[in-house]
Amino acid sequence: MDEAFEKRLPNPEDLGAMTEESLKAAFAGESQAAERYLVFAEQADEEGYPHVAKLFRAISFAETRHARNHLRVMKGIGATAENLAAAFGGESFEVDEMYPAYGEIAKAQGNAQASRSIRYAVKAEMDHKRMYGEAREKVLVGQDLDARPVSVCLICGHTVIGNVPDKCPVCAAAKEYYKTF
């Protein structure tokens, strides 16, 4: 992309604390809208509205642009080594603190479906934490990851580098449920 193109993006800025709070909230809102619209697109496809589905996907993309702009202004986008460190930190928090706490409360309240949704997430975040840690080691010495496929279970998010298992070890979905990147 040419310079003129990049130039139109809002730049990182030293922000007033209240403005930063606003952008954080806007980033959270845009991010959730983007995810909701992707799910709504699948629902529209199932109901036989392919063009409504396409609309939801397009608007989801628009919201990702807003999310990215807000994140950029807040200086949330660094060099890849920094981004991997931030990603590792985020996954660690979810694995060590957030999901264990949420899991306990869901169990105490007898919420079986919530417990399942939490278990699926925490298992995958453990894989992500490890992968981000290893990727960061490489990038710190200027190396890329190996060119192996990364595959994700579309039910539970289980993430694997290399061969896809016959059956997801977390949720038992068949290997046809994996999406490969």
């Binding site: 799910v39 509205y49 990215r68 202004v73 949330g76 919530a114 949704s117 995958a124 890329d144 449920y177």
Partner: protein
Amino acid sequence: MADAFKNTPPAPEDKGAMTAQNIAAALAGESQASQKYLAFADVADAEGYPNVARLFQAVAYAESTHARNHLSVLGGIGTTAENLKGAFDGESFEIAEMYPAFDAVAKLQENKSAQTSIRYALKAEVDHQGIYDGTLKGVEGKKDLDAKPVRVCPICGHTVIGDAPDECPQCGTAGSYFREF
């Protein structure tokens, strides 16, 4: 797909209020992680780490599956007509309340980039609100949208149905950069 291995996302559940609050927080966290990783993937590509970029994209997708699971548990996935109404209401809130309030704060604090990021989003949400409204009327009469392309400006998220303009009316980006859905 073999039925024996079939699996589905966690189902809606309405039990503990604390659990619902936690799942809502987890939905916000997963959605934001997904958006961050997509932005980080672009940086990794630009820095010449295509395989790290692929890892970020795959993990972003995994976080999207978690966001969808949490949204499902919260009962946030309805019929397409309900989803369009929910989307319309979300856009309306952003236009009528959220972004005007955030913009006032950013102006007060003289944060120029923040104002740009807010303006880009607000203008696009007005597009989305109008498009969702028209689409909902169609779906209520069991009519899909017309088979026209939907085009989105990759800088500001401006969204049009049909041809891209020569230049984005919001941010001046050339129409040739618009992404087509």
